[in-house]
């Protein structure tokens, strides 16, 4: 099996379980507010890390390249409250544009 399919199946199965925990598993019970809070804070931490890695990492090296223009365009779009598709399009166009100029 390819790495892509292995990832698709593992992420799919794991997510089915995570989503089912409440409605199927613990219906009527609650978890501690501290644990709940901890679980909800994971997403912002990982998404911020993904921004850094997708912008600056090339393997194990920190590099500044055309992707910085893409993330800059993305930030401008988000501040202007643009929809997701426009953020992605602007990110791609800015990156491709700067790369073409180099």
């Amino acid at each position: 099996m390819s790495a892509a399919w292995a990832t698709v199946i593992a992420v799919g199965a794991g997510t089915v379980v995570l989503k089912a925990v409440g409605p199927v598993g613990v219906s009527g019970r609650t978890i501690s507010p501290a644990v709940e809070r901890l679980l909800e804070l994971i997403a912002p931490a990982i998404l911020a890390a993904l921004v850094m890695v997708e912008t600056l990492a090339s393997g194990r090296h920190l590099v500044v390249d055309a992707r910085l223009a893409g993330v800059g365009a993305g930030i401008v779009c988000v501040l202007a409250r643009a929809p997701f598709w426009l953020v992605v399009l602007c990110g791609a166009l800015a990156t491709a544009g700067v790369r073409a100029l180099q």
């Binding site: 790495a3 992420v11 089912a20 409440g22 931490a45 998404l47 911020a48 912008t55 166009l93």
Partner: protein, 194 residues
């Protein structure tokens, strides 16, 4: 949601997911940011374990979200299992605990998400050089947009800043994928804040 699905479909190509794999992932996982995270880590050479860990850590929030709406689900285990898969951030936020709204919005979003993925995945197969089209920069921009939806409190902002710092510091010293998983440690920055 359809447009975000299309974006995922195109970006999946950078991690060598063919159109079928991208569509199957959208149909079964149905959680946008985790899917983009998984293909991002795979595409960066992070390996299967890191890609799966990053995606499932992102989806860990569905445990408390599911518990918060658990009371609204009725019927057999199979029925509740199927319906629980329709819980995503948007359907949960719009429902306010109303089961009909939750399932209605969830179903609509599921079709938009899977359909959008199919369009994006087939369009993506026509793209030869993904770098030339700036798809790597599009990933970073999309993660900025997904992160922005999560920054709803000072605690979350502090955690995001910490996660970014941890990742940037670790990139030169660890294999790809590790900086993203390690960033989870930043949750301690927000845990104690009210």
């Amino acid at each position: 949601m359809a447009a975000l699905g299309a974006s995922f479909g195109v970006l999946a190509r950078t991690a060598h997911l063919d159109a079928l794999a991208a569509i199957v992932m959208s149909a079964t996982t149905f959680a946008g940011s985790s899917q983009v995270a998984a293909v991002s880590v795979l595409g960066a050479g992070g390996g299967i374990a890191a890609a799966v860990a990053a995606a499932l850590l992102l989806n860990a929030r569905y445990a408390p979200i599911g518990i918060s709406v658990a009371q609204t689900f009725r019927g057999s285990v199979a029925r509740r299992l199927a319906q629980s898969q329709l819980v995503v951030d948007e359907s949960w936020a719009l429902s306010g605990g109303n089961r009909r709204v939750l399932l209605g919005v969830g179903t609509t979003l599921w079709f938009a998400w899977v359909g959008g993925t199919a369009v994006g995945a087939f369009a993506g197969q026509a793209i030869g050089d993904t770098g030339k089209f700036g798809l790597d920069g599009a990933f970073a921009a999309l993660f900025v947009a997904l992160l922005a939806t999560q920054l709803t409190s000072r605690a979350r902002l502090a955690v995001a800043a910490g996660g970014a710092a941890i990742a940037a510091l670790l990139i030169p010293f660890t294999p790809p994928g590790v900086p993203i998983i390690a960033a989870t440690g930043a949750v301690v920055l927000g845990w104690r804040r009210a």
